[in-house]
């Protein structure tokens, strides 16, 4: 909220900044169904510094995913300002600035077209932004695939032939193609087996360090994001109700919503330990 901006080192412009971002949806079908207006974001003021690792948590329906899509330029907010690296992106979702922010979806294996080959998938952003020649793009795709731990000889295989975990790696490699500065990870680790989840999380952490990326983790699985983020913001009904460093928050959340979330997670674990 306005009273509690994220701690921000003086003089350094945050890489992501929103001012009173609002977004609503109209449900219902045209002239026949009744219309329903759902206010999904009700004034978000968020600041993310470069290199930060922020966890955005909240119950389902609290507006986390809508916020993520607005930040990545996939949806246009109704009102409010969105600044990326010190530039106002306004309402144009085709602004160049959005190449600096990339959203990785839940079950991002699905975000790869099964008919494309691995190198086509990874080089797609390059193609879209008319970068280099075909050979250069393929080269770069292969390099990126190496970065995420995929063998270079897999470049010609179709995405449909990869396992779910490998397709997630492909999606990560593609996300890195345009060298974004911010990755938004919307439930990117949900639904994975424990052993694979660890692998993916570690890969993402490594990449973050190597490339000085800013991460925005969005999840309802507290136990996981608390291990991966250093700051936390709690969302509820389209608002950010609390933000703190993870260490502080973990010792004692101030907002009732935060307390509930931590409680639920702990109750379950202690129930398990009984």
């Amino acid at each position: 909220m306005n009273e509690q901006p994220l701690r921000q080192s003086e003089g350094q412009e945050p890489i992501l900044r929103t001012v009173d971002l609002r977004k609503g949806y109209t449900r219902g079908r045209g002239w026949r169904g009744k219309r329903q207006h759902v206010q999904s974001l009700q004034g978000i003021d968020l600041q993310v510094r470069a290199g930060q690792s922020l966890a955005l948590i909240g119950a389902s329906g609290s507006g986390k995913s809508t916020l993520a899509r607005c930040l990545a330029g996939l949806e246009r907010p109704d009102s409010g300002e969105l600044w990326i690296a010190g530039r106002n992106c306004g309402y144009s979702s085709h602004s160049r600035e959005f190449t600096q922010v990339h959203l990785i979806f839940q079950d991002c294996g699905l975000s790869t077209n099964p008919r494309f080959t691995a190198s086509e998938i990874v080089s797609e952003p390059l193609l879209i932004s008319h970068w280099g020649t075909r050979a250069e793009r393929t080269d770069r795709a292969i390099n990126l695939m190496k970065t995420v731990g995929l063998p270079a000889d897999a470049a010609g295989r179709r995405a449909g032939e990869f396992s779910g975990g490998q397709r997630r790696r492909l999606a990560v490699a593609r996300a890195l193609a345009l060298e974004p500065r911010v990755l938004i990870l919307d439930e990117a680790l949900a639904g994975l087996d424990l052993s694979t989840q660890g692998q993916m999380a570690n890969l993402l952490l490594e990449i973050q360090q190597a490339r000085a990326l800013t991460y925005l983790w969005i999840s309802h699985d507290l136990s996981l994001v608390l291990r991966l983020a250093s700051e936390i913001a709690v969302m509820d009904e389209g608002r950010i109700v609390e933000s703190a460093s993870v260490r502080e928050w973990f010792a004692g959340p101030r907002s009732p919503q935060g307390q509930d979330l931590l409680q639920a997670s702990r109750a379950w674990r202690s129930g398990a330990e009984r």
């Binding site: 160049r96 975000s111 932004s129 593609r174």
Partner: protein, 363 residues
């Protein structure tokens, strides 16, 4: 009856395959069906060579002649290498239903690759090569003749050009329109979608054939063969856009929300790029399946029209107006070979359905 099977196809784009849905079997079906269709179309296209007569050439002295049998052994028990037919003798006063008899004394050997004058232009001496024929003045009617004594086989071959290609062109027309309107409707949504889909609903609220008739009713009745062909193609093709467009819209709509489309959009891809690279490729399956369902339906539409006298008119042959002879009960009762134009539809439909089945399984 595939009439309306496209409607059902539209309704449930992936029908469950019948037993033995193994992939290789599907491919086999597809190959077999396509091969059959290609053969039929080649034969029909080559009517000028394969047909022994011109379609309008009349043999007034032998109306409703029955199909001649090919013989290798003559009346005296001699075997001939070259197949032959016996000339038919017409007994108009005979009380038999089919007043023809084979004249065992007039053996007409079948000659291959004969030069024959084109009817009507004899004066100019124009000739071209035919696959087979008999020495004049003998006549060969392998599938019999109609009431004007026109060779059924020749009419069947030339009529196929009309019937088969009317279906093909009309399907191309309505699919093209369907893809255009359906993808625009699905991709851009909002008011465009509302207008197109309301329009489609109105088109689909009419029983299909009634719609066709209604449109046909207000177009000129008596036009030349060429004009009536294009008229039919236009009418059939333009009234059939609604269902394919609804289907394409559905596919586009679901493709639009695929995560990889969203991902490409987040990289700044333009609408055109998305349509070209990701979305239209998803509609191929539906479009091909629809084609395999629509073409036979439209062939049948042409046949129905011409059968009822609203389509291609005499003397140009079409499978529909050839069947029209059967509307007389006397013809229906006695001259079974007049069914040929209907029977030839069976393999055509069978092949198209094989292809449609295979495509649906592959989908």
């Amino acid at each position: 009856m595939p009439q309306g099977s496209a409607e059902f196809g539209a309704f449930c784009p992936t029908l469950r395959p019948f037993p033995g849905a193994a992939r290789y079997q599907m491919k086999g079906k597809l190959k077999f069906g396509l091969l059959g269709l290609v053969l039929i179309h080649l034969v029909v296209l080559g009517a000028r060579v394969f047909a022994p007569y011109d379609p309008a050439e009349q043999h007034r002295d032998s109306p409703f002649a029955p199909p001649m049998r090919l013989h290798w052994v003559d009346a005296r028990g001699h075997t001939h290498l070259r197949p032959f037919v016996y000339a038919l003798v017409y007994h108009p006063e005979s009380s038999a239903a089919v007043p023809y008899k084979e004249d065992r004394n007039r053996r007409l050997p079948v000659r291959f690759f004969v030069e024959k004058a084109i009817a009507g232009v004899e004066a100019q001496g124009a000739k071209h090569l035919r696959l087979f024929g008999v020495d004049p003045p003998g006549e060969i009617f392998l599938l019999g003749t109609d009431d004007f004594g026109r060779d059924q086989l020749s009419r069947l071959l030339y009529g196929g050009q009309v019937s088969l290609f009317a279906g093909l062109f009309a399907a191309a027309l309505s699919l093209g329109l369907g893809v255009l309107l359906g993808s625009a409707s699905g991709f851009y949504g909002s008011w465009l979608d509302a207008i197109i889909m309301r329009g489609a609903e109105i088109f689909m609220a009419l029983p299909w054939i009634y719609l066709l008739f209604a449109v046909r009713a207000f177009l000129p009745l008596h036009v030349g063969a060429r004009e009536s062909f294009f008229l039919l193609v236009g009418v059939i093709g333009l009234t059939g856009w609604a269902r394919p467009s609804r289907l394409v819209r559905g596919v586009v709509l679901s493709a639009k929300h695929r995560e990889y489309v969203l991902a490409a959009r987040s990289f700044g891809a333009s609408n055109f790029y998305l349509l070209r690279r990701h979305i239209l490729s998803e509609t191929y399956g539906v479009v091909l399946t629809q084609a395999a369902l629509l073409i036979p339906q439209y062939i049948l539409a042409e046949v129905t029209f011409s059968f009822l006298g609203l389509g291609v008119s005499e003397p140009a042959p079409s499978w529909g107006n050839m069947l029209a002879a059967l509307q007389k009960l006397s013809v229906l009762e006695s001259y079974w070979w007049m069914f040929a134009a209907g029977l030839v539809l069976v393999p055509v439909f069978l092949f198209y359905h094989l292809v449609a089945d295979a495509l649906q399984q592959g989908a």
